[in-house]
């Protein structure tokens, strides 16, 4: 147990996080003080005859700014409801293999004695579990690195004045609220930094800084006579980037567009259900890629490790290299190096250098996402670098890299795709999403829908969702726009594992066309 007395007397703790990670320096090597702390875990584990040990010492900072513009009951006057929070978290987790089993323990008190104690806890956990191990853990080899890496950025978001950020979201919210047709509007900006030090008994010592930037603006329209409401959102692509990214989001300009859309959406006719051609914009298609391809190609699911929670996969091991899941146009990559991807980093939580690998080639499923303790299970020699955790207190495991769809021929335009549709729907933004535990059957909504008739985009329609099977859907793809349309969207809230972990991941694509997909009319 953690001694509260020790805790309360630890007067230098606050200074420690800042000192250990501090401002990025020109050094290419980790802070020696971090290396000294990491060495405590490695040496304690060795003393206890653990066959492997790693430690992650992590400091998080999160800053969230929101503003909401609500109508006052009775007067209709606009009331501004802001919130600003700036939170932090600092701690470490130790992972060991002892008697062939994994053990893990974590604590928020970053001090040498506590690191040694927690390492002993992790070994005790591993030994207690060894009685019920199915097979000893076997790790794929990895080179030792001694390195420092950070998200490429020009302006650290945490050094930008809060006033400047408030100006951005207040302007966007005001623009979205303008006029009489909008009931309420809001905007937000948030930033997350992860200062992470990793040391392992392989000999690696890696210090990294990962930065993420998020924003959004929304507008709600209400028809009280019909007791009906609609909300339209603009969410710029979430990104690993510094504050320099924020001005390029054009929040205010897009706020004006969604204001017009939501009023039209509130009064838009419902869709006529049936088989229709769909043209899905990158702001929408990223989520379909994520659910149907991203999760089905996770090796831990295919092997059965997620059977009790997220589920398994229709892509069983025997299908690797053989199963057709899409048309010849479909080429999909797993990539932890793509510019601004939320899962982009330097090294994973196994100490494996970030990499890029094919998942689907010309429609055929070719590779799984893997980590060090899985590679041997499918006869592979090395990990594909997909190991990470959502916190210092969480166990690293196989998570998704950025998974992106290659663009089509350079000359193919969005207008070309639309021109080829007799009766279809153009969908922007994400809405409702649901897929089964083996990733066959899915249903997706969207944020905004436009009818396409006779090759031309028409007015908005409402109450749209489409249902399909993963392999039917991707084989129905007959057109992808060119590279100039390629955009990367993503989610900060991808959940997996027990206890559940939440991570960010991005999925890039160009607009794509899917033939004769089943469309239903929702409430």
């Amino acid at each position: 147990m953690l001694s509260r007395r020790v805790f309360l007397q630890s007067s230098s703790a606050a200074a420690l996080g800042s000192r250990l990670f501090g401002a990025p320096t020109d050094s290419t090597k980790p802070n020696p003080e971090l290396e000294n702390l990491g060495a405590v875990a490695l040496s304690e584990a060795k003393k206890l005859k653990a066959t492997y040990c790693d430690i992650r010492i992590i400091r998080y900072r999160r800053q969230q700014l929101n503003v909401r513009l609500n109508p006052e009951q009775g007067t209709g006057k606009i009331l501004e409801v802001p919130s600003i929070s700036d939170t932090g978290s600092f701690g470490f987790g130790v992972r060991v293999i002892a008697d062939g089993c994994w053990g893990f323990a974590a604590s928020p008190l970053v001090a040498k004695d506590e690191i040694a104690r927690i390492t002993r806890e992790a070994v005790a956990v591993a030994r207690a579990n060894a009685a019920l191990k199915s097979q000893p853990v076997q790790l794929a080899p990895v080179p030792a690195y001694r390195v420092r890496w950070q998200t490429p950025h020009e302006r650290d978001p945490f050094t930008v004045p809060v006033e400047e950020k408030l100006d951005v979201i207040r302007a966007a919210a005001s623009e979205a609220k303008k006029g009489n047709g909008i009931f309420a509007a809001g905007s937000n900006l948030s930033f997350r930094s992860e200062d992470k030090y990793f040391a392992s008994s392989v000999g690696s010592s890696i210090q990294q800084l990962n930065l993420q930037t998020y924003a959004g603006v929304n507008a709600t329209a209400v028809d009280t006579k019909r007791a009906l409401s609609k909300t339209r959102r603009y969410q710029p692509p979430q990104a690993t980037a510094g504050y320099e990214y924020v001005p390029t989001m054009n929040l205010t300009e897009n706020a004006g567009l969604i204001r017009q859309d939501v009023i039209e959406h509130l009064n838009a006719p419902p869709v006529t259900p049936g088989k229709k051609d769909l043209i899905l914009l990158p702001s929408h298609l990223w989520l379909t890629i994520h659910e149907s391809i991203g999760h089905s190609t996770e090796l831990d699911r295919a092997l059965g490790y997620e059977a009790n929670f997220a589920g398994t996969s229709f892509l069983t091991i025997d299908k690797m290299g053989k199963q057709r899941i899409g048309s010849d146009l479909i080429n999909i990559w797993g990539d932890r190096t793509t510019e601004r991807g939320l899962a982009t980093t330097g090294y994973d939580d196994d100490g494996v250098k970030a990499t890029k690998f094919p998942i689907v080639e010309k429609g055929i499923f070719t590779h799984y996402q893997t980590i060090r303790d899985q590679a041997n299970l499918i006869g592979e020699k090395e990990s594909r670098g997909c190991c990470y955790a959502d916190d210092w207190s969480s166990v690293p495991f196989q998570r998704m890299p950025n998974v992106w769809l290659e663009p089509g021929k350079p000359e193919t335009t969005l207008e070309d795709l639309i021109a080829g549709v007799e009766d279809g729907i153009l969908i922007d933004g994400d809405g409702s999403y649901s897929i089964d535990q083996q990733r066959y059957n899915f249903q997706f909504g969207g944020d905004a829908f436009w009818a396409i008739k006779g090759g031309k985009k028409q007015g908005m329609i409402s109450r749209v969702a489409y249902q399909s099977r993963t392999t039917d859907f991707w084989q129905a793809c007959d057109g992808i726009a060119g590279r100039s349309y390629w955009q990367q969207w993503g989610a900060a809230n991808d959940g997996k594992g027990e206890p559940e972990q939440i991570n960010g991941v991005s999925h890039g694509c160009s607009p794509a066309r899917f033939r004769q997909i089943n469309v239903i009319q929702t409430d």
Binding site: L2, E80, I84, S85, D86, A227, S229, G304
Partner: protein, 440 residues
Amino acid sequence: MLSREESKKLADKALSFSTFPECEVNVSSSEAAFIRFALNGITTSGFTVGQSLSISSVRDGKRGSTSVDEFDDRSLREAVQRTEQLALIAPANQESVPPLGPQKYPVIENYPASTAQARNQVMIPHIRAIIEGAKARSLVAAGYMERVSETRAIANKQNNFAYGKVTDAYLSSTVRDAAGTSSGWAAQPAVRIEDIDGVAIARSAIEKCLRWKNPKRLDPGKYTVVLEPTAVGDLLPRIASGFAARAASEGRTFLSKPGGGTLVGEKLFPDSITLRSDPFSQLYSVLPWGAATMPADRMTWIEKGVVKNVFYDRYWAAKVGHPATPAPGSLLLDGGEKSLDDLIATVERGLLVTRFFYIRTVNPQTLQMTGLTRDGLFLIENGKVTSPVVNFRFNESPVRMLQNTIGMGKAIRTRGMEDGMVTPPLVVKDFPFTSISDAV
């Protein structure tokens, strides 16, 4: 874990650094032990401790917030200063409410030491029972067991203070055949870890797996369903958001009355439906306060089919001249005495649903949801379960589910992947399944 005295000392220390008229703090400490297993063996396991102190400072309606997990004087002082600096920059919240003065909090403590202190040695026998049971039938077990415990304290400069402790345990398992053609699931949440029965979980999950062989493909459509308690607990808690008084009055929930106002007092559901919140239930371990640190209390949302209450946050309550109320939590749907088999016996043709998966909102106003059946869907014919059925996707709202309820059994506490509550199994007519899922 922080005691009441330690929590109070930390809260007072943080408040002592405050220079603003309003400052509120929330101190928490936590401990968790868990084991995850798959392929008939333990895969990951951990023991984690955590602590956090969150602070908000307010002056003239301008608020700044932060949280820290380092509790030394310097960290706390800097954190309070940071909130005050942020508040100086923040625009005034035009919907702000004054801080709560000293409140009378109920005595709620359901914190058995057996759960709060359990480690792997207590959990492993349950997991062994599942793994050995699965192996004996040449099946493959995966699952998860955890116990969590947490202390929490709230305090503000107006001398309000409260402290609470919660703990809970949970075991779930999915048992599949080696070929991956059949799957069964069972789970049990319990405040007292000694109530968890790994042998019973193993029996139930194994039986479902063995029964779900060569499932029939039925056409999508509307079916009478017998929803096991977990299936109800997956879907029904999503009704809670519709009970917000403000959103209902503003025309944004299923309780909005066309033309304005709410549907409180209207009989929207059958006589059998009574939905309540009961933080005093011994089936839950909860804190003595709820939303906005207001004292926890019992609330009735639906009584004998009539909408009795919507919940008023402090701002909206003041605005419309209604007392502020607790928000929905610790939910209970009243049941009867019938067993699951009794309910099945009442159905001429229908489907038995073990649980739902991946439920997401399709329409936030009507609360139409989509999701799928998983780990045990069976055909009922002439009052008996006759054969397994290939899984379905549904599109339905918990509102319509309650409106179409024609039978209910005995209530138990549930926890599925989606949510959980205390609920009976239900018989529901016209439940719409819209497509087939081949997932196992």
